[in-house]
């Protein structure tokens, strides 16, 4: 039992951090709200660094990269509120497509996934979609994309209408389940990053902002609000990493582990957003201040790929109703 990342994994995470600090500062996130595709412009740099293709079986095989390393990177993209389909492409679609239709992967491939609302579908070269628990790889031109507006305006959503066909089918029940778990864990990791950023910036604000002649962070009520966020994160983060390990090892309990992770990550991020806004007060309530960019992303991701209640109930079916075997100790 060794529950920690390797030095290589941490070093790569730090390198991604440095890249995002440069390529995805808050202004870029803000620009993505109003630009044409809702994206940061950091995708190419990430690709060049090997981040977006990290989950390709060839790369993964060579470098020994697995869901554990990807999860750590996705947490970092959450911290920067990176507006890109990196969960959809890198965590979900690329490994599935590369495994089942390797020829469909080119240098310029951009896959998205999800449903019924698919983010960034209009930017994508292909859509990985599920129907009746099977996976299909669909040409955007063969589907009807109807744009929908998210509270997070960088998330360019489409509702997708399409017809499944034998020719576009690329995965079975097991593949579809794996794709879903990868998506749920991917956004769980991003939620942890988003929450950590909101906690950090709110702590900073509470140290600086004075009322009644003292920093507001010296009030016990503010302290306890922020301590509760730290608590939620402390006991969510290990569940994310454990689920990543279970996915990487194809543990038979992986879906339960992903669900505990997504449930607690969603709760932690929603709490972090709530506390961040309350501690900031009116300044946090304006779109001129950056907080709302993180907060709205957290709201959107907490409800996507199954919200906390849905995932808890999935855990319940396993542990209470015995729908899958109970975990071995």
């Amino acid at each position: 039992m060794r529950f920690a990342f390797t030095d290589e994994q941490l070093a790569f995470r730090d390198a991604v951090h440095d890249l995002l600090e440069k390529e995805c500062p808050p202004d870029r996130v803000r620009e993505a709200w109003t630009n044409s595709d809702g994206r940061s412009g950091a995708w190419d740099a990430l690709s060049e660094m090997g981040v977006t293709g990290l989950s390709h079986p060839d790369v993964a095989g060579n470098l020994g990269v697995d869901e554990i390393a990807v999860t750590l990177i996705l947490e970092e993209t959450g911290r920067f509120a990176l507006p890109e389909p990196i969960v959809e492409h890198t965590a979900v679609a690329l490994p599935a497509v590369a495994q089942h239709v390797p020829d469909a992967v080119t240098e310029s491939s951009l896959f998205v996934a999800g449903g019924p609302l698919v983010p960034y579908a209009t930017s994508a070269t292909a859509l990985l979609l599920e129907r009746d628990k099977h996976l299909y790889l669909v040409d955007p031109a063969a589907a009807t994309l109807t744009p929908r507006a998210s509270v997070d305006r960088s998330r360019r959503l489409s509702s997708v209408q399409w017809d499944p066909s034998r020719a576009t089918k690329v995965g079975d029940v097991r593949d579809a389940a794996l794709a879903f778990d990868r998506g749920a864990l991917g956004v769980a990791a991003q939620l942890i990053g988003l929450a950590q950023h909101m906690l950090d910036t709110t702590v900073d604000y509470a140290k600086e902002r004075h009322q009644f002649g003292v920093p507001i962070g010296s009030f016990q009520a503010v302290k306890h609000h922020l301590a509760n966020v730290a608590l939620a994160l402390e006991f969510a983060r290990p569940l994310i990493y454990r689920a990543a390990h279970s996915l990487a090892r194809r543990d038979s309990q992986r879906s339960v582990h992903v669900s505990t992770a997504k449930a607690r990550a969603s709760e932690a991020a929603l709490l972090a957003a709530r506390v961040a806004l309350q501690v900031h007060g009116a300044i946090g309530y304006t779109t001129e201040y950056d907080l709302h960019l993180w907060m709205k992303r957290a709201w959107a991701l907490a409800a996507s790929w199954g919200d906390a209640a849905w995932h808890r109930e999935r855990v319940g079916r396993a542990i209470l109703d015995g729908e899958t075997a109970a975990e071995e100790q």
């Binding site: 507006a149 509270v151 009322q211 009116a282 779109t287």
Partner: protein, 383 residues
Amino acid sequence: MDLTFTEEEQAFRAEARAWLEANVPRPALPSGDTREGFALHKEWERALFDARWAVVSWPREYGGREASLMEWLIFEEEYYRAGGPQRVTQNGIFLLAPTLFELGTKEQQDRNLPKMASAEETWCQGWSEPNAGSDLAGIKSRAVRDEANGGWRLSGQKTWTTRGAFCDRMFGVFRTDPEAERHHGLTYFLVDLHADGVTVRPVERLDGDEGFAEVFLEDVFVPDRDVLGGVHEGWRVAMATTGSERGLTLRSPGRFMATAARLIELYRAHAGDADPTVRDAVIRAWIDADAYRWQTFWTVTRLMEGGRTGPEASLVKIFWSELDVRLHATALDLLGADAELVDGDDAAWMKGWQFALSGPIYAGTNEIQRNVVAERVLGLPRR
């Protein structure tokens, strides 16, 4: 104890219901916190005023019906039940007017109240400043005596001024005695936002509406007749208004009952795939709205029999603001992955959620309100 409404009250309810059903705009007006929406809302307010529904509890001479508190509550229930538009006049009617009635001169009342009621003049609140939020006594904007012209010259900055970009006038406190500190030496002014030296910068709120404004004042002349209450007595005057803001007048139960009713409709539409815990949250929210209603009737009976509201108003402010958050959070849970959408049929919930999040912050944060409850209702020691 008799919890049935009197015949008069029932007649009043029937009249209000009939008028509202016939007159509430369909489809709903755009947000009143945008420039276009604000203009449409002023028209609506004018229609309300013409039918004497704008200020039901006011004296007849100012456009009211001299309705009792209970009738006012009934009107509010009907207003929200009918899906009536937000009240863009509310800061004037519910925050300034009580102070004008209590502390204004007859001349000030005559000059301001009718135009306020008819929305000919719209009012915003100039309380907060960049360094005076929860700590209102930290106000730095100042007023200097202009003896020659019989008035004051105001300078400084107000912020988080709701609908400040669209309103005509602003009420707020300014420091008139530069030597005094904290809550001493402040004076309550009624300021014309069209006067020379006023610059208003709209600020976008969480939901994207430009519902906030920053108001910059540079040597703005305000005549003596627009001082409300005594010079240097602004704190006492202002507290009368924040009492109203926290208390009964701003958040009548009708609003939350209407939201709870909409939530139940949403639940029924999603009952098939709703999680059992969400069902319980819907029930809780409905019970809470019901509790709020009956706590209000309880309080109003006491007030109608000569009682006063005091620091218990803080309990009310905590309850409605957190109830509003729960109502909307539950709706978003029901919507699941669709909750993030700001287009389509259910988008009002996400907008309402963002609005609800302001409740625990404005008019005294709920942290401050809990201090007030502990210290002034329960008698626990200040630090």
